[in-house]
Symmetry: C2
Subunit: 204 residues, 2 copies
DNA sequence: GGGAAAAATAAACGCGGTGTAGATTTTCTC
DNA sequence: GAGAAAATCTACACCGCGTTTATTTTTCCC
């Protein structure tokens, strides 16, 4: 058992320490890229943020909480971006636009997204965040499929199930591609787009 | 740094300890299902296998090595099954047969396969095993696509890239479905099969 | 500018888990 | 049945996390 209640300090808007909190998350992101989750120790994060271990535990209750907060920050960003888009009605355009946006998201936040996926099992809070995010994407895909004429419903070849499968395809394909080069992301995107189109009944 | 060279004991065929080695892997598989990787401690595995921690370290150099061995054992099984099949030439039948086989594999070995995927990043040896396995599947899918008329090649809408995307779709979809019920596996399979068919240009 | 609250420091400590070492017993082999 | 190799046990050293405490510095705000 770690901490039952937050044991967090500082409540009430926008103290100075919010700066440090951001510094901690930034450092965490950097170290995650450099060494990976396991090898990254709490002391490293603190040091990188210019504080001591003790001080870090004033802001966050555990290592997992730090990473969870980092994921939350990133994921919130994803949601905003997604809310803005998704207004195109013509299916073909919608798909193309969505894939372009997906490339941007993975190019910019690939590391954190991969970390979120990896830790989904281990850290329940992160699991929640990511599965919620996935649901948003699935629903967006579902809407496009239905607009393109795929019958609505939960059965195997109806829109919901297909959208889910397509979402996992995109997630996994970009997960791998984002570990390589930006070119790989482009390639991956083109392939996913084509399969999505075909599945939607839109023969290119 | 853990252990550089194996530090393994016992070489030369079929000592008594091979029995224990199997017992260790069996216990590991059980505990993995019950508690998950992190919560499963080395002492638990040893106890389950009827020996002490120290004895376990005679057979395996680390916790990771134990799980890697378990994955290797399972994956070898997968390879055999795949070698036997994949002789159907008619694309539609080949796809249906492949999906039926995939259901069986995930129903039987879902837990270990999920573990392999989860630890691919953390444990290099497991990463190797799994990516090799994935390559086999990708190649099988590629062959079917080409037989169905999809042009060969590495470009985004040619057979190789599409096969890769389809493989990740199947992996991830089954990964999730296998955590729920056998019924979910059936559903997932039907959906994946449909998308695969469509992608291959075989309108159902 | 002075007092309260917030933010940070340093130095311990306990806990749990991994991996290692050395001694010891069992088992094979001749 | 003696010696070697295999298998096992017990005890320990290490590392990292999370906690605690006591003490200082910074910041807020009236």
């Amino acid at each position: 058992m770690s901490g039952h209640h937050p044991a967090r300090g500082r409540r009430a808007g926008e103290r100075k320490g919010d700066l440090r909190e951001r510094a901690i998350l930034d450092t965490c992101e950097t170290l995650l890229a450099e060494k990976g989750y396991d090898a990254m120790k709490v002391g490293d994060i603190a040091q990188g943020a210019g504080i001591t271990r003790g001080a870090l535990y004033f802001y966050f209750g555990s290592k997992q909480e730090v990473v969870a907060a980092l994921v939350a920050r990133t994921v919130e960003h994803l949601w905003e971006r997604s809310r803005v888009a998704a207004e195109t009605t013509e299916p073909r355009q919608a798909i193309t636009a969505a894939m372009r946006r997906t490339i941007e998201l993975w190019a910019e936040h690939g590391l954190v997204m991969r970390t979120a996926i990896d830790l989904s099992l281990t850290v329940p809070e992160i699991g929640e965040l990511w599965s919620h995010t996935a649901d948003l994407f699935i629903d967006a895909i579902r809407a496009v499929l239905e607009r393109a004429g795929v019958p609505a419903g939960d059965a195997p070849h109806q829109a919901s199930a297909m959208a889910r499968a397509l979402c996992w395809m995109i997630e996994r394909t970009f997960y791998h591609a984002s570990q390589d080069s930006p070119e790989q992301l482009q390639q991956a995107s083109a392939t996913c787009e084509h399969i999505w189109m075909t599945t939607a009944g839109l023969t290119a």
